[in-house]
Assembly symmetry: D2
Homo-oligomer: 350 residues x 4
């Protein structure tokens, strides 16, 4: 809600999708960044309050435009919430015109070779990849602060990375044989029309997808390599579960030493995340519901001596800490604002 003269003016590109709408919702409560422009090609000319009546109080007059880079000239930040592949077309036109680009898609998260490997296509703007920091503040804060632009991480990689980073950072687990078994709510599929996203297909069903080769595998390995300081190999199995929001990552790895206990690991996690406002280390297994609509990530960890396994779990809201909230968190870093600015809302329970 505009309540005076804000410091920064931003655009949300792709405002009619779920992460776009979530950006508008979060920015409405942000005291320093104002969303002054919204684009939605298929809904150009439609008022934000018509697309999303929930946003009406904060955006009584904002109307979606068709995307036109020149119209974004001079903005302090542009959040791109576009389908895969679109932002690599757009960003070359954008970087010279605006202060910072925060891209919520997968286009600028990997280097060109990784991108080619996991997405099966040549990157369209490889020369700009170096200008984008991987926007997971808990693990890459310095890089974000130093970068002009940010590639906000995917929802699964955020959960997997926050679950496993404390183990890899200290060499407590082997960097191979890591399994990430995760469950996502249906909003993770976006707002596009497709049969698996239909209520009657997704409801009352759990199903795995993308077996062995889901594209987020490369990004998970990339994020974990950053934490580890060396290559990490992951088998990733995502599942679709009947809920709107939420991701739970249940991760398995082999310890590098005998005798680790759950108590030791929990203490290590508490220390590792001691200064992090958005990561809560819990004794009990985390529930996605506890993070609903907040920028929180809840994690826990166990050592199983019987089978020689370390188990790490993370829960978050895929549209907030897994997308739009984390993008705003990174923007706060880019603008040198306190990292929690506009992100202090608590999870909605029940």
């Amino acid at each position: 809600m505009y309540t005076g003269v804000m410091a920064y003016r931003a655009a949300v590109v792709g405002a009619s999708g779920y992460t776009g709408a979530e950006l508008l919702r979060i920015l409405a409560g942000h005291p320093e960044i104002e969303a002054v422009h919204a684009t939605a090609d298929s809904n150009a000319g439609v008022a934000v309050r018509s697309l999303f009546p929930s946003l009406a109080p904060a955006y009584p007059d904002l109307v979606c435009d068709a995307l036109e880079p020149a119209a974004l000239e001079g903005l302090d930040a542009v959040f791109c919430a576009l389908p895969h592949g679109a932002s690599q077309q757009l960003v070359p036109d954008l970087v010279g015109r605006v202060g910072h680009v925060i891209d919520l898609g997968a286009d600028f998260r990997l280097d060109a070779a990784q991108y080619q490997e996991w997405y099966g296509e040549t990157h369209g703007a490889p020369g700009l990849l170096g200008d984008f920091a991987y926007g997971l503040p808990e693990l890459f804060r310095d890089a974000i602060t130093a970068a002009p632009h940010v590639a906000a991480p995917g929802c699964y990689p955020t959960a997997a990375a926050l679950a496993l980073a404390p183990l890899l950072a200290d060499g407590l687990i082997e960097p191979t044989g890591v399994i990430v078994d995760a469950a996502s709510g249906v909003s993770g599929r976006g707002r596009g029309l497709s049969a698996p996203s239909l209520y009657s297909e997704a409801n009352e069903s759990v199903v795995a997808y993308g077996l062995l080769r889901h594209r987020h595998t490369g990004e998970i390995e990339h994020a974990l390599a950053g934490a580890h300081g060396g290559d990490v190999q992951v088998l990733f199995t995502p599942h679709l579960v009947p809920m709107t929001r939420g991701i739970l990552a249940t991760c398995y790895a082999r310890p590098t030493r005998d005798g680790l206990t759950s108590e030791q690991l929990l203490a290590h996690y508490r220390e590792f995340y001691a200064d992090e406002a958005f990561v809560l280390v819990t004794d009990e297994p985390p529930a996605t519901k506890s993070t609903l609509a907040s920028n929180a990530c809840h994690v826990t960890v166990r050592a199983d001596e019987r089978t020689g396994t370390v188990l790490a779990l993370a829960a978050l809201d895929n549209l907030v800490k897994g997308a739009s909230g984390q993008a705003v968190q990174a923007a706060n870093l880019l603008f040198d604002l306190p990292e929690t600015t506009g992100l202090t809302n608590l999870g909605i329970v029940p």
Copy 2:
């Protein structure tokens, strides 16, 4: 979240229930009222952050106490979020000790005779009923401002009253033969353990309950009488639907004059609610989802010439505008704060 010296100190009595937890969530974002005390008899000694990990960032140290009126001495406000019948036992011990009581139960909403009629029992503290204003600000703002204490309305009555008030206030519908057909999410049943609240019973089912004689009928009639300035007679049919939060009231009435059009009625609603921050008059039928976790109520209206009926609909979140949010809205009035203080969060979509 405590961020300095707040103006007012409050307690949440019954903090382990859904409306109690919701009060803590909302007050965590309130700049002027701080929840400094929480009680939960069955969870005495348990930290709020353990009961609700979502609340951990705002209440790192708050622990639930057993209820002890003397311990509340001197607080500016006490929010009572207790099962039916409990607050009429408690309030006599409370009124002399604290600034304001905001009761979220049904105990202080009706006069003694109405209470007897609909609850089938004699009221336990009839002498205090006059000290409680019916806390629906959009219709009873002056009374709230003038009263020491507030009885926050029930969820169904709030929806029905906001849907129908503009019609009754102007005498556009007959005050008899009014039908309120409403659907509620399961959180409306509270956190008590009962078979109809089980996931496997409530999921994939719609069922009516309380046919003809649901207790909220009396309160709906009471609230509508306030808007109308005379008796109103309502047949109320609530339904349980498989969602956690949300109420939709679909109301039917007979117009008092011929020739009313939907356009006229919508214009009348827009004028009636022009100054209300929390009521949005929509052209399209309102969806409960658009109000999720916000203090908004969305309403629309239609005139059906073919059958001689006026149709009015209202959607809200039963735990916010239907309970804890509205209680905070009333508290803002009691403290002469801007009515929207701490209540500007938008609905969570999707």
Copy 3:
């Protein structure tokens, strides 16, 4: 499952939709009617077991064909489960080739004038309307038995008609001022891709739609007129609720005489439906869940002396009694089989 030489050979036209798949499921358990042919234009060449793995045991070899009327030549029955408007194009090519057509769409339910009024278009095969009986066996059994073809009723009209018929048949309520307020699961929208059918839009939301002029209004009035023996005027408000299957109709009407009691009405309903295998009159409000995946319809009734209203409720599974099960029930009548043949499965609880 084919278990010998069955008496009748049938086709399911539109086998990839929800009602088509449901027909295949039900016929798999039918001892006398075998589905030997399935069509699905957009899935021509795809095996039924691939489209619906659940059907694999019964249809190991059946493959969907593109629709070709000549290929249906000589079949005993053709079930048409097509989008609105398609069967009036198809049926003229079909009636001379096959024994019976059972159409699950809206094309042959109304007379030409009613069709024009509610669907806003001229009927494409008015000369064939007289060959189709309205396929609600409990109210139109004789007409079905006498007809060559059947128009299976819509889901909402079935629920409304079974709820209200005993009242109208005996003149216990006024035929005007009838209100049908109903809730449907999302499968009622079919399998087409549309935003309101997306999980993330429909979940955790209740919303009304088609206010005042939903097309099923005309059909409800038509079915009730049949029960009443004269015109009936209905205001119909459907709602979408977050579940896959199920319809609950909550109906309101004014009694024609004073002094009716709920006990009298319940006794009347029990007598009215005494010989009906699929209608259960319940003392308690019926839950849609109790009818899930069965051909049952549960109904109850109340008289409210206080407001002068009769309340009647009906619950059913929109894809079974509201579509495919009822179509098979009608086919049993056409073939002079016991009406419950292949339809004795009980509801799935929980």
Copy 4:
């Protein structure tokens, strides 16, 4: 439904719980076994049709009795669907009186030492353990046929065993380091009143539970040891997901040889299960929804050369193939009936 003189007369002990009700539902469609007696201590005297209106057509007159072993004298089969620990108290009184006991609890699945290890208590009837076969027909058919009584397997162990058995039977994976990561619908928690079973707690949430030491771990290892012919060590992580029915087990293991391909493994699974009526090997990842309300188990398998892992998945309905359906399947074996008798209903989609 009683449709003549059936061969066998049975009792359902614990008929008011979910697996008890499901037994009544399945037996209603069984042509050879009739449920003539139902017990439910807390609902003694209550008609089955009142407890479960869905069952009314098949059980118009059956009333729940309090459990009295003498009243079961001479029955051909008794299905025990009781809370953990209850059947070991009951069975000693039962075995001499009735033909066969099929116990759906965990009491007779493990040997006495395993029981002590995983349940932390001494078994109450160790002398009878040898009379109970582990009732997973696909893997222990001969033992069931030869035994007087059957311990029907748990839902998770059934899914895990059917997913992994083809690999272990042929020595294709290492018997240590096996991970079973599984998700269950809320009905798996039974009908008892507990907070995590409440709609508002379970909905819109995924959470793991029983980390490292869930009691089904021992049973999974027991079942897999049977398939393997030697000890198998498993780490089992169950999750609660927001749906009523369904289990998906996603299993990870290390291959014993290089070069295995997904195609080879799928072919091996198809051969292994070629004669099994209830196991469907699918190319695509199985969805729990495809098995809803049927006795089917859908499985698939993959080899991941990149990480050196074999991935096996199984989906089933926890109340049917994971409980009551499988119990009836075992009863068919005990009575030398075709194994599919009464179990041919297809899954309910959507």
